[in-house]
Symmetry: D2
Amino acid sequence: MDYVYGPGRNHLFVPGPVNIPEQVLRAMNRNNEDYRSPAIPAMTKTLLEDVKKIFKTTSGTPFLFPTTGTGAWESALTNTLSPGDRTVSFLIGQFSLLWIDQQQRLNFNVDVVESEWGRGADLDILESKLASDTAHTIKAICIVHNETATGVTNNLSTVRKILDAYQHPALLLVDGVSSICALDFRMDEWGVDVALTGSQKALSLPTGLGIVCASPKALEASKTAKSVRVFFDWNDYLKFYKFGTYWPYTPSIQLLYGLRAALDLIFEEGLDDVILRHKRLGTATRLAVEAWGLKNCTEKEEWYSDTVTAVVVPPNIDSSEIVKRAWKRYNLSLGLGLNKVAGKVFRIGHLGHLNELQLLGCLAGVEMILKDVGYPVKLGSGVAAASAYLQNNIPLIPSRI
Amino acid sequence: MDYVYGPGRNHLFVPGPVNIPEQVLRAMNRNNEDYRSPAIPAMTKTLLEDVKKIFKTTSGTPFLFPTTGTGAWESALTNTLSPGDRTVSFLIGQFSLLWIDQQQRLNFNVDVVESEWGRGADLDILESKLASDTAHTIKAICIVHNETATGVTNNLSTVRKILDAYQHPALLLVDGVSSICALDFRMDEWGVDVALTGSQKALSLPTGLGIVCASPKALEASKTAKSVRVFFDWNDYLKFYKFGTYWPYTPSIQLLYGLRAALDLIFEEGLDDVILRHKRLGTATRLAVEAWGLKNCTEKEEWYSDTVTAVVVPPNIDSSEIVKRAWKRYNLSLGLGLNKVAGKVFRIGHLGHLNELQLLGCLAGVEMILKDVGYPVKLGSGVAAASAYLQNNIPLIPSRI
Amino acid sequence: MDYVYGPGRNHLFVPGPVNIPEQVLRAMNRNNEDYRSPAIPAMTKTLLEDVKKIFKTTSGTPFLFPTTGTGAWESALTNTLSPGDRTVSFLIGQFSLLWIDQQQRLNFNVDVVESEWGRGADLDILESKLASDTAHTIKAICIVHNETATGVTNNLSTVRKILDAYQHPALLLVDGVSSICALDFRMDEWGVDVALTGSQKALSLPTGLGIVCASPKALEASKTAKSVRVFFDWNDYLKFYKFGTYWPYTPSIQLLYGLRAALDLIFEEGLDDVILRHKRLGTATRLAVEAWGLKNCTEKEEWYSDTVTAVVVPPNIDSSEIVKRAWKRYNLSLGLGLNKVAGKVFRIGHLGHLNELQLLGCLAGVEMILKDVGYPVKLGSGVAAASAYLQNNIPLIPSRI
Amino acid sequence: MDYVYGPGRNHLFVPGPVNIPEQVLRAMNRNNEDYRSPAIPAMTKTLLEDVKKIFKTTSGTPFLFPTTGTGAWESALTNTLSPGDRTVSFLIGQFSLLWIDQQQRLNFNVDVVESEWGRGADLDILESKLASDTAHTIKAICIVHNETATGVTNNLSTVRKILDAYQHPALLLVDGVSSICALDFRMDEWGVDVALTGSQKALSLPTGLGIVCASPKALEASKTAKSVRVFFDWNDYLKFYKFGTYWPYTPSIQLLYGLRAALDLIFEEGLDDVILRHKRLGTATRLAVEAWGLKNCTEKEEWYSDTVTAVVVPPNIDSSEIVKRAWKRYNLSLGLGLNKVAGKVFRIGHLGHLNELQLLGCLAGVEMILKDVGYPVKLGSGVAAASAYLQNNIPLIPSRI
């Protein structure tokens, strides 16, 4: 019937795509519609207004591209930069690596600042580069808010402070793919010029929307940016925004209704409470990892990620075996270690529409798998540590009080 | 948007209605159809054939009533008995109580054999009644295979042995609502005359089908049974079976497609493996209860139920508070204590389309709730006990090896 | 993939089950829930309140039985009457015939008033029977509002007038299966004591809810009615209404949410506008039949039905062939002629969630089929007649003005 | 509940997005999955193999981009051409215009061959250009197979013949957005180098997949094409094809399952029968237009399109009013006239999962609207003409014989 059957629910704990709420599945369960009827623009208007809230911006302009995070990256770069422009980009894991690769292929002059995988962006180097760049050759700072491969969250507020300290005009381009709607993110306050995310991450939708938000300064930059672009051109959207029809080409009707439902759910829970829930889930996961006697791939607490935890396995264990076993025996989907950390870490995604008992079920599964592969874990230890914390911190569900 | 919102999945651990597999939800997500077209009878034919397999009968005749378990009871009784007929019925909990109430209101002469709630049917009394009933005044033995209120499984094979020992012709009518498709049940081998279940139990469908299966002896009895019946009359179905159109009145198209999908899933996993999975889930739950230092409402191991566990709380705790808290704080649905055991037990349903990690998430939740209400549980202890057992017993998922 | 594949949508024009709106399909596309949580009673309360509106009653008490129309009949009868009670019942087609059969099998003393199929209930005979029944031996008048087999609508307001004229206390029991939510029906104004419908008719839901509404007088009668009943007993519901938990046994969660959505749609369109839409669809269909030179099975205009039209075919044509051909060649589902009119009529159901262009597509199909089977129809003639009427009468869609 | 409510089904007759079959909606009604588990690559493998069949190619390499038709265009161009390359492009309507605009913005040297809107590509000019291009400066011929704005189908087989006659090595790039899966298209036989379509057209899926198929010659060209590309780069896919993991970035799980279901439906009906069905629907539509006394925007029969018909309205009528009225009064979605033909034509899309009775309902609606806006149409005339043709040509549904 399906491609691979297993009894009971699949426990989806990769850091994306994530679990879709039933409410969103329902909203998307529909036939196509004429996107040129008055109904779709009317809904789109509410979406564009509301999507700004998840970026915490009032001055930004959002774009809903029918694409993935990779396409959203391309849109952010090509609309604001010209070939040959110098970018400072932080390489701290597989996804920042891929973004840098894209920047290079798009012919920017990429000044790569590399850190050990497991560490955050080296902001001291950023500072020294800005300090010496009195000629303002640096056109953009490209940084992932949360590196999904290692579970590292960068401090964007500090990035802004450094830029301000040197009154440097470089644009601040932020990959918020595994952060927005889950981690504290403040586009206006932190002076982010382009922020972007993908629908299949903390918004808990299917893949298919690359959501990009541009500051007024970024929009201004787009007027002179010479990078070749058509599909990802903001200007094509802006033209249709003015017409009030919004769409330069056919949108996915289903994803629009899905986004409407997803935003409604987030606002019903409260965006700040959603972020607090992610903090709880992240903390609980880290307590479990500690109780198992394993190391978090993230070196320091300041970089801990509340959306994904990369767990380092002992040298005698192949982390891919853990992921394979999770799927083959427990109907549990965990994230692989990628590139430099392949075989060395496995990842627990704890983002999106998820609650504490789902996570505890996952942690109980990981314990059994660790034992399966020969690691001397004490069964129940991680769950005990996590639930001791959770039991003190889970709030009542507001609508049920 | 919905009536009561909570983040993440609801953890549904009441002993019915239970979790519906995505495959079944998909199969039911459809418009109505003309049930008189050739398509519906063609599908119905496969359903009637395949539904016999879940009763383990080849000689039985199944009926798919658009009703609930209560209606299925009524169908079983009114088609086989006449007003005034003597039944021997075992009262061991709320659901056997309700069935007995129905028997009395249908004007049978009910010989009630009561046990303490938490104990199984008293088969010694059955034996003595049969022994003394040389005139064969007893027309039917009515017994629940699994009492959902207390988590007690009766031994049907012994009932059959006793009947055979006395060569007693009484019909054996079995409520298999919370057993069929989950516990070992053998209609032909155990000489069950009418067995029945509801779609929302181990079949993991929505409520709406009362599935009744009649032995040749029961069909024979229906020819002379004088109880008034129309909607629940087997004969109306048999007439349409002969026509090959199958339905005396409009069936639910969606439930038929859903049943098709549910049966396909069960056969893909293998009915015996489904039963083994329930045994694993039941055992794991009982180990957790023991680890928490709590008592199973079921007095003896011989009656332990692999589909529902009723957990006795200490006298100073109100079990309703546990159920309420589960729902208000953890998005977890547990079963209330009913009638005599109201406030004294809460119930964990572990039947239907469910896997081990789902159960462990539930058990972790129960631990936190126990602590919430002041019971001195060691967090993680139940999960540890359950997963120690599970880690040794969960098989690989066959389709993924 | 499915049982019988055909390209494009199935054109469902049987008089039930009917087309389900996408909004309702979406609302029902959900996992099971604990029906004992606070959420389900809260929703049920709104359902019971709102369902009264479709019966146009403020004093009635509604019951949502997990059953079909046949079960709803049984509930109406057994709760209000005692074995041996005299009913006056009108036999005017297959469904009134089946209801009468049920009344007889339930041991009432049925006084059958038969009409030619195609004619309405003979109210002159009713009058004479009431006139002579000064002893009030007649306990109930049983009448279908709309006979689905022949497309005949009875005049309930006249029935009430006759009863009042003789100040006769007989209960008025009405089968509104193919009328309620589609035809003008006024429970309170017409003094109907029990009215009932099924979810798969004009409510445009799947089969599975038998909706019964009882007047205060009917409720009073239920206190002394001696018919045996358990599953269909109103009293079991009333008990749980008082508790505020509403359900004596497990309801279908999906149908409750579906009913909520269905009622919302009806109220959004406006019940009276829904009824007007049915009048338009009925009129258009009859104009087409006339244009084809065919006869409506319904003899007189006063009985014309706005939910189903039975079309009489010429003697040399077998109407079953038309239905078969519709399905085999045009993916169109029409209603068969039943019993006395088998082979002589085919039926076009035009009820539920349906609009004018859907009907015109059906009529165009019927024209082609008539030609297929050798009837000398002028293609386009029926559509022309119907659309000439519709073009003058379809209103703008209010939400789109 | 929804953005704009209207009773009954929406009649969706824009030339995309089109009606989605229930089977496909069901297949897509699912949670996200880990796309790195073995299940997704296993399914993807079947998709890539089967998708070649709809292009009628065995040597082509397909790519499933998470994008729209506009993105698919960009992929076709940037992978095969370098900035400054000369393309010959035919401007015959709004969509070819947009593609030409894209080519210009991507810095190709576009040699535009314009026709009157309503006429096909001028192949005489193509011939003369090729004849004089002995230096082979023309690198690609860009042509839409079917211009969706005017309902014009170009003759690709002649294009190939001309190319062959001059043994010209230019690549042949074909926009098959509104043709593939609906019109006769033969990638290998016609020597098409890149063909592309979008999921929301004849494949009857939601928007979100840009399906591009490249010939061996196109793949070879991609090795030296210097256009900047990352997201749309074929090479990133080819790398993952070799790994057997297929996806360089997260695909839409739902669209993959949807595509699987859509292809299954097309193969079950038979691709050639699907194309024949479109020929029937196109012919029937044109017969209706003729019967109404209106002109087809397409000038000559050789260019008639079987997927969309643009109907020219008399000068005193604004075609936008027709589209508006269709939506406001009849719940019918028609296509607007675009750009040069705005106000002058309205479009009837007749592609995708659609059958004859659906079309006849639409035609009956158009007749009423024409009357609404003052055009002296004879109601029923178009339906009569269309159904006279259809009644002779619709085959029995194979699975129902």
